[in-house]
């Protein structure tokens, strides 16, 4: 039996090319401390391009592929809506504004040898960004209605990465096959119970 489906999946909206680009500009521009939380917010909550489940699946693929996972997701989501142009627009959108700001910071650094004293502000923003990422993960767990073994695997992955500090490729290599097997078993596609 598959896991219970979403009771009423919210209707999704297909973005135009411009909307795709601007959405990704927003994700890049607001993404202090990383873009993962903003990407989900803009794509799932604000603009409804993808359902919670679709987005989580694209992000999962972005995670196992090398490279930045939200960047990989941008390529795949852009391609889904507008082919090569979409992939280029989404990728360009997410990196353009941050690159401009980064160039400005480099120029400041070049000129003064250090950045203006913004450490306390950045520390406060970094703490808020950390909470934002944790809150996003909690929100996704609440909405995805994962099976019990999937929740267990989620916690094992988090524990391995945050406490044991195992390398991410190792975690993905060890847990992804296990998790895929568990998911196939739950869908009734393999009969043998996945060991965990």
């Amino acid at each position: 039996m598959p896991a219970a489906p979403d009771p009423s999946p919210p209707a999704t909206v297909t973005p135009s090319r411009l909307e795709l680009f601007l959405g990704y500009v927003k994700i890049g521009l607001f993404g202090f401390g990383g873009v993962a939380a903003w990407a989900r917010r803009v794509i799932v909550e604000e603009r409804r391009w993808l359902t919670e489940r679709d987005y989580a699946e694209v992000l999962g693929l972005g995670q196992v592929l090398p490279g930045p996972n939200v960047g990989n997701a941008a390529v795949m989501i852009g391609r889904r809506f507008h082919g090569l142009a979409g992939a280029v627009l989404a990728t360009g959108g997410i990196y353009s504004a941050p690159l401009v700001i980064l160039i400005a910071l480099c120029l400041l650094y070049d000129r003064y040898g250090r950045l203006p004293e913004v450490k306390p502000v950045m520390a406060g923003i970094a703490a808020a960004a950390a909470g934002m990422v944790i809150g996003t993960a909690c929100k996704m767990v609440g909405k995805l209605k994962l099976a019990p073994e999937a929740v267990a695997l989620l916690l094992v992955a988090a524990f391995c990465a945050a406490w044991l500090r195992l390398s991410l490729p190792l975690i993905v290599l060890a847990l992804a096959p296990l998790s895929i097997a568990a998911s196939l078993w739950r869908a009734g596609l393999i009969l043998r119970r996945a060991t965990s």
């Binding site: 939380a37 989580a56 520390a123 950390a130 944790i134 809150g135 992804a176 998911s183």
Partner: protein
């Protein structure tokens, strides 16, 4: 010219081993740039990392700053292209493969199997960020807790907590 090519090659290799994104590849980036190539010392590496953190956007742009330091603006361009293009091409290919396989009954469940890993690693990234911010004492952890609840339990814009965190940091950590 040879230097720019070296930068491009170095970051292209990093791009292809960067499973888990920027934070996962940082140790290897340090090994390549500081230990193997000798392009910068430890202190510079740390400073540039902090510089990249001050900008919004994907953390992977730390590569752009490193490239800039090694080879000026050309270096920045080469590092950015090297870091982004190979993995983007892989992601493009993967999306195409999935599109071709879309009828297969096992595809959706297999893809769903990656979801717990992705969310688990997202949670871990947040926890690691929270731990890093605790070097400034207990106050950042209070900000982390408020922000977690705010983002988890409400659908208001997280800009409010980011701004609030910055203001609290300025008032209480400064």
């Amino acid at each position: 010219m040879a230097l720019l090519l070296q930068i491009l090659v170095t970051f292209s290799i990093l791009s292809l081993v960067a499973v888990g994104g920027a934070n996962a590849v940082l140790p290897e980036m340090h090994r390549q740039l500081v230990e193997l190539r000798g392009w910068m010392d430890d202190a510079t590496f740390s400073q540039l990392y902090a510089l990249a953190q001050a900008a919004p956007g994907p953390n992977i742009l730390v590569a752009s700053v490193m490239g800039w330091r090694v080879g000026a603006w050309g270096g920045m361009a080469m590092a950015t292209i090297g870091m982004l293009l190979p993995s983007a091409i892989l992601a493009w290919g993967m999306a195409g493969l999935l599109h071709r396989l879309r009828g297969a009954a096992w595809l959706k469940p297999a893809q769903a199997g990656l979801v717990p890993i992705a969310v688990g690693l997202l949670l871990a990234a947040g926890l690691v960020m929270a731990e890093a911010s605790s070097q400034f004492g207990p106050l950042p952890l209070v900000i982390v807790a408020i922000s977690t609840l705010f983002v988890w339990r409400t659908s208001w814009s997280p800009l409010w907590v980011l701004a609030g965190g910055g203001v609290l940091g300025l008032l209480l950590l400064g």
